[in-house]
């Protein structure tokens, strides 16, 4: 933390005039409005922003098609300027398969939550990955059914308190969490598998790069690509919004380890990912202290 003495409140209602330039990343034009219905402190809008940024950066605006699952993020269907098909719970990877096979030049991706993908439609995503379909699946994983009130999902970690695991998830009674990214990485048809997060600025920047690499994998027709994004759900976790990022890092983030799980044909071990995360965190701190993520 800095020791800068706090001066007066500055004008932030107007953009500065000449002598100032806008810093990237600008808010993507694909996001038609910043008025959305998601809760204060929700991580899903940050994941959606990362996807929109990657699509704009790679010039895929005209070819992108989204197969949208069902969860809180579904409400973005009407405020993001991307062609989309609304799918039934868990079925997005199968719908995306159909779209991609009929429109091979489209950039097809699914957007699903953990309840949608890992509980309701686990076989859909596994078979799509195993078939090596040339599409991208994006999972926003917060370890709860946020939309319906904060119940446990298949990705909730042991000890996690949810509405129906009040004493914490207990392996003996509730079973163990499914580490979906790790599972998909083992499948031959999966070409790129990564797990990002939106709990701080560095993680958001890293996650945006992962989404970009996944789309590039699809454009090169190398196989199935998968990006899991850990997101805050302060409402479903029953915690104050400001505690969301630390809660994410210390619960979900300790079990669902961030990093590129499979890239360039290599599957990375948890130890390798851990070591990389420590290095990246130090780099980020230094970069922010120098005053920017941009350069």
């Amino acid at each position: 933390m800095s020791t800068i003495p706090l001066g007066p409140v500055l004008d932030t209602a107007h953009a500065p005039g000449d002598g100032a330039r806008v810093v990237e990343p600008k808010t993507p034009a694909l996001l038609l409005t910043n008025h959305h219905h998601l809760c204060p402190g929700c991580g899903e809008p940050l994941a959606i922003r990362a996807i929109a940024e990657a699509i704009e950066d790679l010039g895929l605006v005209d070819t992108a098609v989204c197969a949208l699952g069902i969860g809180c993020y579904t409400s973005f269907g009407s405020t993001v300027d991307i062609d989309l098909v609304q799918c039934l719970h868990g079925r997005a990877p199968s719908v995306a398969t159909g779209v991609k096979r009929m429109l091979p030049d489209a950039t097809v991706f699914t957007l699903q939550g953990d309840g949608d993908m890992v509980n309701e439609g686990l076989q859909e995503v596994l078979h799509t990955a195993a078939r090596g379909e040339s599409l991208t699946a994006v999972l926003v994983n917060n370890g709860v059914f946020g939309e319906t009130g904060g119940h446990m999902t298949a990705t909730s970690v042991l000890g996690q308190r949810t509405k129906n695991t009040i004493e914490g998830r207990d392996a003996e009674y509730h079973g163990y969490p499914i580490l979906i990214g790790d599972l998909i990485a083992q499948l031959e048809g999966a070409a790129y598998v990564a797990r990002g997060s939106v709990h701080n600025a560095g993680a958001v920047a890293r996650t945006t790069k992962m989404v970009r690499r996944a789309f590039e994998t699809q454009r090169r027709r190398e196989g199935f690509s998968f990006v899991e994004i850990l997101t805050m759900c302060p409402t479903g976790w029953f915690i104050p919004t400001g505690e969301g990022p630390d809660y994410l890092a210390s619960t979900l983030g300790e079990v669902h380890i961030m990093g590129e799980l499979k890239a360039d044909g290599q599957i990375r071990t948890t130890e390798e990912l851990h070591a990389e995360n420590v290095r990246k965190a130090a780099e980020l701190e230094a970069q922010l202290a120098r005053g920017g993520l941009e350069d």
Binding site: M1, S2, I4, P5, L6, G7, P8, V9, L10, T12, A13, H14, A15, P16, G19, A20, R21, V22, V23, E24, P25, K26, T27, L31, N34, H35, H36, L38, C39, P40, G41, C42, G43, E44, P45, L46, R49, V198, N200, A201, V204, A205, P234, T241, G242, G244, P245, L288, A289, G291, G292, L293, E294
Partner: protein, 83 residues
């Protein structure tokens, strides 16, 4: 006593879109964002900027309601601040 604080950058904040989650406050490396005393039309406190912004864009990256735009000055702006 006053100190000179340099702002290398600045931000605009869409106060009416803010939902008061406070994620931007700890995200700001020089800690020049604080929450307001007044509330917006929806009843949420919102962030206010003080001198010392570096234009790093960390606030923009963590705001779920896309409230920020970030700018860098060609020449840093200096503010006299009581210390």
């Amino acid at each position: 006593m006053t100190t000179v604080v340099k702002s290398r950058g600045t931000v605009t904040i869409d106060v009416e879109s803010c939902k008061g989650c406070e994620l931007c406050i700890p995200a700001c490396p020089p800690a020049v964002l604080t929450m307001s005393a007044p509330v917006n039309k929806r009843g949420y406190h919102y962030p206010e900027l003080h001198p010392g912004c570096t234009g790093c864009a960390a606030c923009l990256m963590v705001c779920p309601d896309y409230c920020f735009e970030v700018f860098r000055f060609q020449t840093p702006v200096e503010h006299e601040v009581p210390s």
